[in-house]
């Protein structure tokens, strides 16, 4: 039984990955859709990072895009000034974000939940101030225009050109899948189970021998690094870095993506990203009332789907399955 479940999951995973990579072919005639999906992936990556923190460990970080900004600016500056090529640049960005995560985590993780929320908010704002004020380094409030795309990659059987929409999508999709696999591996490992224990009852977990602080710091650093990776991909996509992309509104946005999508689930952040990127685009037709409707939708969701959209889908699926089994048992066929 266990073997079959394992191979089934692998098959679904492979199918999912294949579908992801086939998107540019499917939407070859709709560059706007391709663009929106690429942007969705850019937002999904930091969301998955935050999900590890918020959904699986129970730590609500309201300043997470600050780490994405660290990754973004490091990557952007290295690429723009020609100091490094794509892979070293984005690696540097990821590591820098992880480092800042460690530095942030040490003072913040000792704090109780509500205090932690506000202090991470403060850290996020401090990082934003750095992006905004350090004119000589980051371009300051006017942003950093002219960030180049990575050079084409020769895979042997094909050439992937990130300067073209399809090529960049494939790059983003690869980064996304990488993070998804990391998320999956972490969640299903002993480390991940310890995180779940910490989320449910810290004191109990500690009494069972879990080094709570070490676990929290590790996952904080990892989630910050993932956010940094996402920031790097996003800034290369937009070809410009702007402080507001990593400010308070975006901090809030990524938290919403994770919670609304369904925190604590693997697909929740992806669903949330799809909703928060694709839905406002689709709602552009209702322009003036767009944000009021969106706000109302959020309130409705908070009230009626307390486990997020993924939780809602799970509930609906369970009900459908239950109804069917009831019918079957009643003898109708």
């Amino acid at each position: 039984m266990r073997v079959r479940a394992g191979t089934a999951r692998l098959a679904i995973g492979a199918l999912f990955a294949a579908a992801l990579y086939l998107v540019p072919v499917a939407f070859a005639g709709s560059p706007y859709v391709l663009f929106t999906l690429t942007l969705t992936l850019c937002y999904a990556i930091p969301a998955m990072g935050l999900n590890l923190l918020l959904g699986y460990t129970g730590l609500v970080s309201l300043g997470h895009m600050g780490f994405a900004g660290v990754g973004a600016y490091v990557t952007a500056l290295l690429m723009k000034h020609g100091l490094a090529s794509f892979v070293p640049s984005i690696l540097a960005g990821t590591l820098a974000a992880g480092l800042v995560g460690v530095l942030t985590g040490v003072p913040c993780l000792r704090l109780r939940s509500h205090y932690f929320i506000i202090v991470t908010l403060a850290v996020g704002m401090m990082l934003f101030l750095l992006f905004n004020n350090l004119d000589w380094l980051t371009g300051g409030a006017a942003g950093l225009p002219g960030v180049p795309r990575p050079r084409p990659l020769d895979l042997g059987f094909a050439v992937v050109d990130p300067r073209r929409p399809a090529g960049f999508y494939l790059l983003a999709a690869t980064a996304f899948l990488l993070v998804f696999v990391i998320q999956y591996a972490l969640v299903h490992s002993d480390f991940g189970r310890s995180l779940a224990a910490i989320r449910q009852d810290e004191t109990l977990a500690a009494s069972r021998g879990v080094d709570v602080f070490a676990h929290k710091l590790t996952i904080f650093a990892v989630s910050a690094a993932i956010a940094g990776l996402g920031g790097g991909v996003q800034v290369l996509f937009l070809r410009a870095a702007a402080p507001q992309s990593f400010g308070f509104l975006e901090d809030v946005n990524v938290v919403l993506i994770v919670i609304v999508g369904g925190s604590g689930s693997l697909f929740g952040p992806c669903l949330g990203a799809l909703l928060f990127v694709a839905l406002p685009e689709a709602l552009r037709v209702a322009d003036a009332f767009r944000m009021v409707l969106f706000g109302a939708a959020l309130v409705a969701l908070a009230l009626f789907a307390p486990r997020g959209l993924w939780g809602l889908a799970a509930t609906v699926a369970r009900k459908l399955r239950a109804d069917r089994s009831v019918v079957a048992r009643a003898g109708h066929s």
């Binding site: 507001q244 689709a282 699926a317």
Partner: protein, 390 residues
């Protein structure tokens, strides 16, 4: 049924219906002009003025019978998307305008960093993007042939003012500035232009939305600043000026752009403004026919005094239309871009012609408030005027 399938079906249904909604082609010949601006968020107010300018241009043209390109006559329509000063939203809006709505040209934007994200998309799809408000100088220095700017950038705006300050030796010069691209860009620009003998005094940055300047006022008084430059919009500007003057500080005030308008006067008493100097791209009471005519048309249409951003946007749209006519096409972005580079145009804001960086050099004025709430033009010298004509 798994959660995944339920979610997938719901998403596909929602997105599928949304994305197949593309702009329907109208029965009569019509051109959609793409507009990116801020319709919500903290910069919605300047965004409104910008949009008003585009709207006035379109309404004026349509009322006069439309645009004749080649042998066809077209009515104009605006396709407006809200980017609320967010880079990702800007890029998305551009993508939608060029990829779904198939506009031949895009105009607008309020914030420089957002424009920086929109410009590459313009280049990708060979659709010109004409900026009418953002002032960061770097925008037009990225070598993007499809990005144009009608309005003066920070360096151009500051040049005349810096010379003015040096002439009157207003040293030390203090600043109170928004901590965003407009404010910081202004401070950095002025610092770069001023010679050593003009000392830079206190620089007070504040968050957009902050309203209390008492700590800045105290510091300005202590630094004995000869003049204070206010790099912000009219709303905080009115507050800052009131607080400075109420504190008894009679230091010289230097304002920006729309602080030289009657709309601004309404926010304050004339006594607060007496003597204040500001750079302006659009002195509303200037005795120039182009400005007077525009002011009247704007007032007739919107019931209020014209704003410089509206004038810049109005010219931008007319420029785009002229380019379409010169190129003889309502759809070929590349041809329109070529026409734009070579165009020489006299608009409301003055003569517009793009240099090698696609940057125009419209006239920049310096106006000064007189007693009683009127203004006069102090620069350029050939337009110097008396009180009431500025």
């Amino acid at each position: 049924m798994t959660s995944a399938s339920v979610a997938a079906i719901a998403i596909i249904a929602a997105l599928g219906s949304a994305f197949t909604m593309s702009a329907a082609g109208a029965a009569e010949k019509s051109i959609d002009i793409g507009i990116v601006t801020a319709r919500s968020g903290p910069l919605a107010a300047p965004g409104k003025f910008q949009l008003n300018g585009f709207q006035l241009a379109v309404d004026t043209i349509n009322k006069a019978g439309g645009v004749k390109i080649g042998s066809d006559t077209y009515q104009l329509a605006l396709k407006v998307y809200d980017t609320h000063c967010n880079a990702a939203e800007g890029a998305s809006a551009m993508q939608r305008l060029v990829g779904v709505d198939h506009v031949p040209v895009v105009l607008g934007e309020v914030c420089s960093p957002t424009a920086a994200a929109e410009a590459p998309v313009a280049s990708d799809y060979s659709v010109p993007l004409i900026l009418t408000v953002p002032t960061a100088p770097d925008l037009t220095r990225q070598g993007n042939p499809f990005l144009f700017r009608v309005n003066a950038d920070t360096d151009q705006l500051n040049k005349a003012l810096a010379a003015y300050v040096v002439e009157r030796h207003w040293s030390p010069l203090s600043f109170i500035a928004w901590n965003n691209d407009a404010g910081r860009g202004g401070v950095n620009g002025m610092k770069a232009l001023l010679p050593k003998d003009i000392a830079i005094g206190y620089v007070g940055y504040f968050d957009v939305g902050a309203v209390d300047f008492s700590s800045d006022v105290t510091n300005i008084r202590k630094s004995e600043a000869r003049a204070v430059m206010l790099l912000m919009d009219e709303e905080p500007g009115a507050l800052a000026i009131r607080q400075i003057r109420d504190a008894g500080l009679d230091t010289q005030l230097v304002g920006t752009l729309a602080m030289g308008s009657d709309r601004f006067l309404k926010r304050l008493d004339a006594k607060y403004l007496d003597g204040m100097v500001q750079y302006s791209a659009f002195p509303p009471s200037a005795p120039l026919q182009r400005i007077q005519e525009f002011g009247q048309a704007y007032r007739a249409h919107f019931g209020e005094e014209a704003h410089g951003f509206a004038a810049q946007s109005y010219d931008g749209l007319l420029l785009a239309v002229n380019a379409m006519q010169a190129a003889g096409t309502a759809t070929d972005g590349a041809a329109i871009q070529k026409a734009l580079s070579g165009l020489s145009f006299d608009g409301v804001i003055g003569h517009v012609q793009f240099d090698g960086n696609n940057q125009a050099s419209p006239p920049v004025y310096i106006t000064q408030w007189c007693k009683g709430g009127t203004r006069k033009i102090d620069f350029p010298a050939d337009l110097k005027s008396g009180c009431g004509a500025g």
